[in-house]
């Protein structure tokens, strides 16, 4: 696979990652607590910025870690069975996203273990320092690992086929694009927008986001299946 196609797959995987909403929910709650507690705007910015950096760092670490494991296991010549497993994982997660991602109730409650949701809720309330917000950002990504594992796995498989320099570029591209939704909400909150409007938009469009994430995973699986499995079998590459 050539470098532009590889980066396109990494970008699509990152875009799917960006459509998952746990970190955005935690950021919204964190901002609500900070504004409600009458903290200064500078402190609100410090907390939310630390949170966004924490989420970004954890995404980068997870992608690098999965890439390292795959590189160690298969080198840069990944067997087709692993590509097929990756496609299967994408389709499986896509179906799970369509069926379960949001709970069938009011609000934006996600289908993640209630213990993790409760923990994040409590920690959000208790967060006063930038370091705690940074840790919360790290935990937010881990809390959604059941869903983000699929795009992360596929992006890692593609990344390890690239020359070393382009692997670093790929990791940076993935991290930046996967942070898009979080960055937009962070900018909106930082510029003084109303949290109620942000949350209302998220609730009104939650089923669209759910559908888009699932469809994105299916498209990614289809593209990879055609280029890496069918393409190799019939000799396109």
């Amino acid at each position: 696979m050539d470098i532009p196609s590889s980066l396109a797959i990494v970008s699509l995987a990152a875009l799917i990652h960006a459509s998952f909403q746990l970190s955005v929910s935690v950021l919204t709650l964190l901002s609500g607590h900070s504004i409600g507690a009458k903290h200064s705007h500078a402190r609100l910015l410090r907390l939310t910025t630390s949170f966004v950096f924490g989420a970004g760092l954890m995404t980068m670490l997870l992608l690098s870690f999965i890439s390292l494991i795959l590189l160690d296991a298969f080198g840069d010549n990944t067997p087709q069975i692993v590509w097929a497993a990756g496609c299967g994982l994408l389709v499986g997660v896509a179906v799970a996203v369509w069926l379960f991602y949001y709970r069938r109730e009011k609000g934006t409650t996600l289908w993640i273990p209630r213990e993790i949701a409760g923990y994040l809720n409590e920690r959000t309330k208790a967060t006063k320092l930038s370091a705690e917000a940074f840790g919360l950002g790290l935990s937010g990504v881990i809390g959604e690992i059941l869903f983000v594992i699929a795009p992360l796995f596929m992006a890692s498989l593609v990344l390890i086929q690239l020359p070393t320099m382009w692997q670093l570029v790929g990791i940076a591209v993935y991290t930046i694009i996967s942070m898009l939704s979080l960055t937009i909400v962070w900018v909106l909150i930082g510029s003084g927008h109303n949290l109620g409007i942000i949350q209302k938009w998220r609730e009104s469009n939650k089923y669209f986001l759910q559908f888009a994430a699932g469809m994105g995973l299916i498209v990614l699986a289809f593209f990879v299946y055609v280029t890496k499995i069918l393409g190799n079998t019939v000799g396109f590459q």
Partner: protein, 94 residues
């Protein structure tokens, strides 16, 4: 100020506690400030909502924290619909 009303906590796992007006007041103020309402307006809305909830509590000696939330949200909705929305969303965001 505390009224002698037992509040059963969410899920019934923790001990009951006496109703505390200050706690409710703070949560209403926080919801109003979160939707960028001015501080003075947030305080006066919180006073009005707390008064309404206390009136309701006079006829209910034992309630759950969720009951208080529902009644407070209903009265907050009259005063500031956006703050009421965010107040209701608090536990159903994640």
């Amino acid at each position: 100020m505390s009224l002698s009303v037992d509040v059963v906590k969410q899920g019934g796992k923790r001990q009951t506690e006496l109703f505390m007006r200050d706690k409710l007041h703070a949560s209403i103020v926080a919801a109003c400030l979160s939707v960028r309402a001015p501080e003075g307006q947030a305080e006066s809305i919180a006073h009005a909502v707390c008064d309404a909830v206390i009136d309701w509590l006079q006829q209910h000696p034992e309630v759950t924290s969720q009951d208080i939330r529902v009644v407070a949200a209903k009265h907050l909705h009259i005063q500031h619909p956006q703050a009421a929305y965010l107040y209701e969303q608090h536990l159903i965001t994640i």
